[in-house]
């Protein structure tokens, strides 16, 4: 085991895969100088400019080229710099990468990974802060990962590179410096990484389902709730498609209360999908309505007090959990 940051874990995952397989390469803006956050630091020196490829600011071509290169048998890792910029390449991702295998009747696979740094971070405002994971979960053909810990960033990114499906790998910018223990494995983590949630905290009173950076607010809230005698179980989904229905349904059936917490806009968010599934499958075990917390349907502001208005906070989670406990 070694300790590294979430950012370093992503770099280690890519480095380990590139060392093991000459068909793995990465492309994106500024990668030759380490990438905009330093996630690629040192990799161009180690693997050369053809495998850590600096590109023009051409998101459609970055993504489209990766589709072509993936269909030709390589395993490209696409860096989108900010998840918001992937919208400049959405035809290439949604109409091309996600569809090629199906519409060509299985003649090809598109084994690419799209790394998308997501979420609110340092007053980056409306075009550099979004959480759009629900859109990707909606698209047949895509796999969607949203790691919250360094270990999961390492394991899920390696598994994503090994997968033959296109994977959208959402790394939360606010988590870059978060440190944690992980084991750098010789054998890459495989398909079993997907659709497997992690119970981050055990509890018997209510189940809180979350992912990505919001995990840490849920854990804070759980500590405060424990002081009041409320034991929250925190489930970190890790991946949104596929998502671990079994763990969520088992937990919610046991506690009888389900709260979903995500940073993304609540309307049309992935929390709605979870809420619908929970009430369809374990309705008779529920002690009250399934609740969800997400951002209001408002773009993200620049000024910190305004930015805070759309951020789901620890206090909001605590209050909602209390309401759920005290409902009849």
């Amino acid at each position: 085991m070694e300790t590294m940051s979430y950012l370093e874990a992503g770099r280690a995952a890519l480095s380990d895969e590139m060392s093991a397989d000459p068909d793995v390469w990465a492309l994106g803006e500024d990668l030759g100088r380490g990438g905009v956050f330093g996630q690629y630091r040192g990799l161009a020196e180690e693997f050369g400019p053809e495998r850590i490829m600096d590109t023009p600011i051409s998101e459609a071509c970055i993504m489209g080229a990766a589709v072509g290169a993936a269909m030709m048998g390589t395993r490209p890792v696409v860096e989108m710099r900010f998840s918001d910029f992937a919208l400049c390449a959405i035809d290439e991702l949604v109409n091309q990468a996600a569809k090629a295998r199906y519409m060509f009747g299985g003649q090809t696979r598109v084994p690419l990974v799209v790394r998308e740094p997501m979420g609110m971070w340092r007053s980056s405002a409306a075009q550099h802060s979004q959480s759009l994971e629900a859109w990707y979960a909606h698209i047949p053909g895509l796999v969607v990962t949203a790691p919250a810990t360094p270990e999961d960033n390492y394991r899920l990114l390696r598994a994503a590179i090994r997968a033959d499906d296109p994977v959208v790998h959402l790394e939360h910018k606010d988590l870059w410096p978060v440190e944690g223990a992980l084991e750098r494995t010789v054998t890459p983590p495989g398909a079993e990484e997907f659709g497997r949630a992690r119970i981050a905290r055990q509890g018997g009173d209510l189940s809180i389902i979350t992912w990505s950076a919001m995990l840490y607010r849920c854990l804070e809230a759980a500590e405060a709730l424990a002081a009041e005698g409320i034991q929250a179980e925190i489930i970190d989904l890790r991946t949104l498609w596929p998502w671990d229905k079994a763990t969520v349904l088992e937990s919610t059936a046991r506690t009888g209360r389900c709260l979903i917490v995500h940073e993304a806009v609540a309307v049309g968010g992935f929390g709605g999908e979870i809420a619908a599934t929970v009430q369809e499958k374990v309705f008779s075990s529920l002690k009250g309505p399934v609740r969800r917390l997400g951002a209001p349907r408002v773009p993200i502001s620049y000024a910190p007090p305004l930015e805070d208005m759309v951020r789901v906070g620890t206090e909001q989670i605590i209050t909602t959990a209390r309401e759920m406990m005290h409902a009849k």
């Binding site: 459609a60 071509c61 589709v67 390589t74 290439e92 997968a163």
Partner: protein, 340 residues
């Protein structure tokens, strides 16, 4: 044609010889027969979705694809039957695909707009105009990474030059010196709109030239000059010469789709263009080369007979079993396991 607005390299009129011409004659006739059969099948209610015929554009397909190796890579458009046949795909299999039958290229899951045959390096027609340009660039990146000597050919229409991927993909191929031949197959129409009315500046070749690509402009209905030019250009690209741009002028004799009567253009315009269509021109050149009309008539009959057989067999093929709807979506999160 925007002849006066570009500064292309023009190719002279040296012949390619009767054997090569005969090859193109056969391929072009096969493409024509395939599309006429597909249109007839659609009128008979046997083609469930749209088809975009390339009638009148067969020389582009044969002249260019006839100079590719089987393992060279081709990316095509929604109007891609001709390119696909010329690259070596089996029209019998393609016809089953258009009819939505089991045993089609994609077992009826793609249809005409997504026709593809990876076994002959045809990596797909594309339903999104210009989307294949950036995919082609990346296919060439993969060839470079693997150290192969293959080349990529990307054919798109004149409408595609007004989409962003045209700029991004051509620039990309230039800066990395990738082995790609871009072909703007200019049939004058973007769907039902005259492309010239929607295109600023001097046109496709000038745009490609501004991005640093060498540009060749050709008569896209003259299979002989297409063949000769492509042979030289493909060899240059294969030997590391970097990307190249061809602007070829042809004309879409049919409507945008087989169901489009194309009433937005003058009948006189279309009649004039029929007089310059590539197959009759190729036949005239063959006669000049000493091939007799009896030989040509025999080839036409053979083609029609073969096509009629393919049509009959395609109609006899079963529809795909329903389970195919759930196959080849993805390995992870497979809908067969994840459905409610």
């Amino acid at each position: 044609m925007n002849d006066d607005t570009e500064t292309p390299r023009r190719h002279g009129g040296n012949g390619i010889g009767p054997e090569r011409l005969l090859h193109h004659y056969r391929v072009m006739l096969l493409i024509r027969a395939f599309e006429e059969t597909a249109i007839r099948a659609q009128k008979n209610g046997q083609v469930p979705g749209p088809i975009h015929p390339s009638i009148g554009q067969e020389a582009v397909a044969s002249g260019i694809c006839g100079n590719l190796r089987r393992d060279d890579v081709l990316l095509s458009t929604h109007r891609g039957h001709g390119h696909t046949i010329a690259k070596g795909a089996d029209p019998a299999v393609m016809l089953r695909e258009l009819l939505g039958r089991e045993g089609g290229n994609s077992n009826g899951k793609g249809g005409s707009m997504h026709i593809a045959d990876f076994s002959v390096g045809m990596l797909g027609a594309n339903g999104v105009v210009g989307a294949n340009i950036v995919i082609a660039a990346g296919a060439a990146n993969a060839i470079r990474l693997k150290g192969d000597e293959r080349i990529v050919v990307c054919i798109f229409g004149d409408g595609a030059v007004n989409r962003g991927p045209f700029l991004e993909g051509l620039n990309w191929a230039r800066i990395y010196d990738l082995p790609v031949l871009f072909v703007c197959e200019d049939n004058s129409y973007s769907s039902t709109t005259v492309t010239a009315n929607m295109t600023g500046g001097p046109g496709p070749g000038a745009r490609a030239g501004a991005l640093g690509l060498p540009v060749t402009e050709l008569d896209g209905n003259d299979v002989e000059s297409l063949d000769r030019a492509t042979r030289d250009i493909a060899a240059t690209i294969r030997s590391g010469g970097g990307p190249h741009f061809m602007h070829v002028h042809t004309y879409r004799l049919a409507g945008h789709t087989a169901a489009d009567p194309a009433t937005y253009r003058d009948r006189a315009e279309v009649e004039a263009r029929w007089r310059r269509e590539p197959i009759a021109r190729c036949a005239a050149r063959l006669i000049e080369e000493g091939v007799n009309e009896t030989t040509l008539a025999a080839i036409r009959r053979e083609t029609e007979t073969a096509m009629a057989e393919m049509y009959e067999k395609a109609l006899a093929a079963p529809p795909p079993p329903q389970r195919r709807a759930f196959e080849d979506v993805q390995d992870i999160g497979d809908p067969r396991q994840e459905a409610f």
